[in-house]
Amino acid sequence: MPTIKGALGPGFQIVLFYLLLSNASHANDFSYLRERDTNGNIWEVRLATASPPLNQIHSWYISAFSSEGRPLTGLTLSISGGMRAHGHGLPTAPKVSAETSPGIYQVDGFKFQMWGEWQVLSELTDQHGNTVGSHEFEFVLAP
């Protein structure tokens, strides 16, 4: 099972470095959130807006593909997360509403109620409860 820290490849570190240094207007532009976990699976997040809104319920589209580009489909996606630095979790309980196309999961009910650094952990399990893929998105929510 890939570790959380292990999932943060060099590409992600460059992205995070960029996020921290870039100016506030696109500090958390999600079009950059495309990352690999230690198994080589490719994870991507798409939103209806450039970045998550503050204090509003919204949806994420999380896609997961194997290193060969095969969609990780028909699996159970569970979401957790929070602000590690503050020691609290997500304020809501996001749920998958649909797999909109193979390997792309619509997750409703995200909300972020504070500015700052958030972690969102996505985990895909098969029908036996075995973890197929797991990845942590980390981003800075800033005005």
Binding site: N23, A24, S25, L54, N55, I57, H86, H88, G89, L90, P91, T92, A93, P94, K95, D108, G109, K111, Q113, M114, W115, G116, A142, P143
Partner: protein
């Protein structure tokens, strides 16, 4: 000689003490002498802009399609100030939400209905209703997911209006029949047949007879009554949606900062207030974590543990969210106008230690006008609140979201002066701030 030496020693000691005191005073109570104009980084400016009040405030609630209805606001206006809506005809919404006190009551805990049969006392401080329509959750523990659902609570609360559902519906349909039918025109066919119903009845009443009366009604009758009752809440919400804050000096300061050639922002907030604002958005003070956005509230729930007199497992958001889910007047219920768009309710956390003893984060606009403070009204002044957050005692609770801020006394004063700079008038026309007098007696069907 020895007495003279002793005197000199005593004097020297006194001088030392005085000097030390002076140094402490200068360090602790006075800001460092720095008259230079405060600079604001791009990140800080972005944060300030995120706190600025929008040019047009528009409360939204899909579950209440009458929120923007002028006729509903008119009806709600009358109901808000009408004492005859209460069981003893002596208490209106405005009894505790006093317009001259920024729609709060200035008391730690609210006054109790004269005719209450309960011996217990209220435990929650009266919050202002200004801007309440912009919040997603209502009551300190978020037991209502809309302002119209909230408005129904006090009407039947034995400590507040202390009336009952049948009496309230009967009163409104008699006294305000024309207004009611004007706001809710399609409802006449389903209006309850009052003449066939008992005087009193409610599923929530502490009076057994009233509960029995309610249980003996048919489900159709109950639904008809509930429908009118929900509409009363929707009219009250439409009125309260008009009670909104106007720009404060802080907002004008932000506007000035956005104009690179404008030197005026300095005149809107003085150096002391600006230093307080800088602290407010700083990591060290951390106020901005919860008091964010244009209302200076994230509408979420936090365990501030301001009182040791609480049972964390049973109070706060942990209780409120369970009540919200069980409330027949919630967004999902049959009286809601948008039962399929209830994201806040659908995705709210229902368990976890974070919800224990957690209470709603209040907005801070005009906070200086709404003392005392906290969910239990436990602090008399802003300086007490700031002092408390600075110390952050845990009261022995395992779950503690506060950390000592380690701010110096002068910094607490700067924060306080900034909070006072959030004072403003209401955007609301004065017409809405007083009762309509004399109350026009409507011609009702029963009298005609």
């Amino acid at each position: 000689m020895s007495s003279s030496l002793s005197l000199r020693l005593k004097l020297a000691a006194l001088l030392l003490v005085a000097l030390a005191t002076l140094v402490l005073l200068v360090l602790g109570l006075q800001p460092p002498i720095n008259q230079a104009r405060l600079q604001w980084s791009p990140q800080e400016r972005a944060m300030l802009n995120s706190l600025r009040l929008p040019k047009r405030l528009q409360p939204r609630d899909p579950s209440n399609r009458f929120l923007d209805s002028p006729a509903a606001a008119q009806l709600g206006h009358q109901l808000f100030f009408d004492k005859r809506l209460s069981g003893a005809k002596d208490m209106a919404c405005a009894t505790c939400h006093i317009p001259e006190r920024y729609f709060s009551d200035g008391r730690p805990l609210p006054i109790v209905a004269n005719n209450t049969s309960l011996s217990e006392l209220p435990t929650r401080h009266t919050p202002t209703v200004v801007g309440a329509a912009l919040h997603r959750w209502q009551f300190w523990d978020g037991r209502a997911d809309s302002l119209w659902a909230q408005a129904l609570g006090p009407l039947e609360n034995p400590l507040e209006h202390n009336s009952d559902r049948l009496a309230i519906v009967r009163y409104v349909l008699n006294e305000y029949r024309l207004s009611y039918l004007q706001v809710f025109p399609n409802s006449e066919v389903t209006l309850p047949k009052l003449e066939r119903l008992p005087e009193h009845g409610s599923p929530l009443s502490p009076i057994a007879e009233y509960q029995t009366n309610w249980q003996q009604l048919s489900s159709e009758q109950r639904s008809e009554i509930n429908h009118v009752f929900a509409n009363i809440g929707k009219a009250l919400a439409a009125y309260q949606a008009k009670l909104l804050p106007d720009d404060s000096r802080f907002d004008r300061f932000v506007d000035g900062l956005n104009l690179p050639t404008d030197n005026r922002p300095q005149s809107y907030l003085d150096q002391h207030e600006q230093a307080g604002l800088k602290l407010f958005i700083s990591e060290q003070a951390g106020c901005i974590q919860c008091h964010n956005g244009p209302l200076f509230s994230n509408s979420d729930f936090q365990a501030t543990l301001s009182s040791a007199d609480i049972t964390p497992e049973r109070e706060g958001r942990i209780a409120g969210i369970a009540l919200a889910h069980a409330d027949p007047f919630n967004c999902r219920g049959i009286y809601s106008d948008a039962p399929n768009s209830c994201g806040e309710l659908d995705f709210a956390k229902v368990d976890g230690i974070e919800l224990q003893a957690a209470f709603k984060v209040p907005g801070l606009r005009n906070v200086a006008k709404t003392a005392p403070y906290m969910h239990d009204g436990g602090f008399a002044s802003l300086s007490e609140v700031l002092h408390y957050y600075n110390q952050a005692p845990t009261h022995g609770f395992s779950h503690n979201e506060l950390q000592p801020l380690r701010l110096l006394p002068y910094q607490l004063k700067q924060l306080e002066s900034f909070l006072v700079a959030l004072n403003s008038e209401l955007i609301t026309d004065a017409y809405w701030l007083t009762p309509l007098l004399p109350l026009r007696k409507e011609i009702t069907h029963e009298h005609s």
